[in-house]
Symmetry: C2
Subunit: 324 residues, 2 copies
């Protein structure tokens, strides 16, 4: 028996420090910072405090979710944490969270490693689990990229924010029904976004920390993302105009704008929230979805679109079925 | 439609250096080393060379698998790498492997983080994928724990080996049919096995590297593993004597012996191969399964049992259905 899978609710948490993209912070002229902030559409970002780790953000988001829903921890059959910035390599953040919040021992507990496609890929893993097992599951998307960013590299520093989002999935009909979820990969683009000197490989000849080929990723996204969206729509006999909203991963406002333009989407179909969040990696889509959920009406179709490190990209298609 | 899932074949690769548990290596008296090696049943272990990383072992194991099977890379719909010692935190080892070996872009590519339960947990993820999608998938279990082990800590150094195993899963009937797969977690035991100072948390007051509470893990395994085995058998109306083999994670010979004794398993039901491999983390079960596959007859039941870091534990029940 295959169950349908729904998203019920989302809890969120932000890094404890607000970092502004201004002259005092970035060490450039005010005019230069203004130009940069305007182009990327990011004026400030939440950043983890020095003693705040991914597990802390993951825990806060999960506690927020549990507080605002009626789901007891005992009913959670799967607890996934998607992160690329764990506290430790061994064990995973999900183990820590499992112990801290007292989830049951027969819970499926796992860390998955994925970046800006991590909401879509995580959705695939948890939905595949629930389709067969039924019940409730939580996917936490949480990262603290700021700890891997070279402070002098403004092309990445001005972009990324630290945050977490905990999404409650269930086979009980409510909220957003998962209609489709598909992801793609092109590992030949591994070097387009790498945290050098992280984990175990010794990278010589390059500075340690996150190295990003921004133009390469923009070019890849403009080629691959519209293709994946079209494939998904075609599979369901849908047109872009029938989508209530397309929730792009909030890489930055410039990139989202380019994608929207290329697809000829109406401005009101493409909500954005990166101005004071930045690019929060795999948490960005659920942070945006949480803001949008209250405004949805029964039958509204929402598409979530992730793309980035790996390279990887993917699409999730959702339909709002009401909240009762 | 839910597909049945089968394990067809396994490719393997070992770290390029052989490290012996002898006086010259461990810096203890020969008598002391002999006593230790005899107790844990581990006399030598493959260790990754300084320039050999998890992705290198993962690639070698996957190439071995592809060479010995008839599965073309284009037919692989899922590529999972289970590791706790990736080359980089960002991106995952699976991305690198995907690019190096030219898997297709519509492949589901993901790193999962799990230790000695990683064969069982990985099996759950890939089986859930194949049950709905059908087709072929590869799960690679690969680690280089030696790079995180403190050389002076003989309680861990004498145990762990570096290796990789790539397992071909398919919905085509052949090899071992997956009858059941279940995993458990107790995150309150997070601290029983931690790689301190790995990834992003600053751990003060303790040396960096792998810290293991050996007696605590033995005690946990002796309590929880038999319980999980019994639950699984009961669910299928089976008795222990009906199992052709129980493939325990090769933590060490002492621990496997204790588990076998507690369960009153016959010696011939409990194959071991850690003497010259050591504890190869999540690769240990597929390394052992590969050795056993040729000796199986149609109808033979095999149980794979993982346990360790997290804490976590799990059971996979397989039935050999023949090779034609």
């Amino acid at each position: 028996m295959m169950h349908d899978v729904y998203i019920h609710d989302i809890g969120t948490a932000l890094g404890g420090i607000t970092e502004r993209n201004d002259a005092a912070t970035l060490g450039q002229s005010e005019a230069e910072c203004q130009r940069l902030a305007d182009k990327i559409g990011i004026h400030s970002r939440p950043i983890a405090a020095p003693d705040q780790y991914t597990s802390d953000l993951a825990r806060a988001a999960t506690e927020a979710l549990l507080a605002q829903t009626v789901v007891p921890t005992e009913s959670v059959g799967a607890l996934l944490v998607c992160t690329q910035t764990p506290d430790h390599l061994i064990p995973g953040v999900s183990s820590r969270l499992h112990g801290q919040l007292g989830f049951p021992q027969d819970c499926f507990v796992l860390d998955i490693n994925q970046g800006c496609s991590g909401f879509v890929v995580g959705c695939q893993v948890i939905a595949n689990w629930l389709r067969t097992a039924g019940g409730n599951g939580i996917l936490v998307n949480a990262d603290t990229y700021s700890k891997l960013i070279r402070r002098g590299d403004l092309t990445t520093r001005a972009l990324f924010g630290d945050a977490a989002a905990a999404t409650l999935y269930s086979t009980q009909r409510k909220g957003l029904r998962l209609l489709d979820c598909r992801s793609y990969a092109d590992g030949s683009g591994y070097d387009a976004f790498v945290a050098r000197g992280s984990a175990l490989r010794t990278d010589t000849g390059t500075p340690n920390g996150i190295c990003m080929d921004g133009p390469g990723i923009l070019n890849f996204a403009l080629r691959k993302v519209p293709e994946a969206i079209t494939l998904t729509l075609d599979a369901h006999g849908l047109r872009l105009t029938q989508l209530h909203a397309v929730l792009f991963h909030q890489a930055n406002s410039f990139m989202v704008g380019q994608l929207a333009r290329k697809l000829k989407l109406a401005t009101e179909q493409v909500p954005q929230n990166c101005m004071n969040l930045g690019n929060t990696v795999s948490a960005s889509i659920p942070l945006l979805l949480k803001e949008q959920m209250n405004g949805l009406r029964r039958g509204d179709l929402v598409m979530a679109v992730g793309f980035g490190v790996g390279l990887s990209w993917g699409v999730t298609l959702l339909e709002y079925v009401g909240n009762d």
